[in-house]
Symmetry: C2
Subunit: 116 residues, 2 copies
């Protein structure tokens, strides 16, 4: 876990080469975290934590975003007082080609199946 | 979790429609369990638990195989006194097309990267 911190408000992120498959899978293995990832992928832009509505408390939500960040699935950057979340798609696609897309497709199929 | 038990030694497995993406990802998110899945995929046949050598105690190994079975990733069938383990590839491929192959490829790439 390294970061090129230039200020106290920079959050630690793993470098690309330190991202591990097992931790990415663990991060994606939770319904709330999978929902965050689907929303970020669907919107195709950075979102604040409050733009991603989760039916959990604020502290639980913060926990989920932290697990996603520490595993290398998302980056979190402060812009003023807002924390912006973005998918690390380039890093994930470089390390694990096609994996994120397969997980997103599987999640979409499962949603259709369970809601249909 | 249902099973068509005809004897006391049949182990419970989820039906295909009860397999959930989050549980499959959780099952795959552990280095030892990922290793089991890679060996089963690589051998392309059923293996006994002792044929899959893991650097853990027997009870830990049994736990990992149970997590894989209960999530729907593998089936475990008694043949005499041996418990045979097989990947539920048809079920996983039907529910989550391409996912298992992407995970296996990602695991192989990561191994190369870390060992290389």
């Amino acid at each position: 876990m390294t970061t090129t911190a230039v200020g106290s408000r920079e959050l630690p992120h793993p470098e690309r080469e330190d991202i591990r498959l097992e931790e990415v899978l663990h991060a994606l293995a939770d319904p709330m975290r999978l929902r965050v990832v689907r929303e970020l992928a669907g919107e195709g832009r950075e979102l604040t934590c409050s733009e991603v509505e989760l039916p959990v408390t604020k502290s639980t939500s913060t926990h989920h975003f932290r697990v996603l960040r520490e595993s290398g699935v998302i980056q979190q950057v402060y812009r003023g007082t807002a924390k912006l979340n973005g998918l690390r798609r380039a890093d994930l696609d470089a390390l694990f080609p096609g994996l994120l897309d397969r997980v997103l497709a599987a999640a979409a199929l499962q949603c259709e199946r369970l809601d249909g």
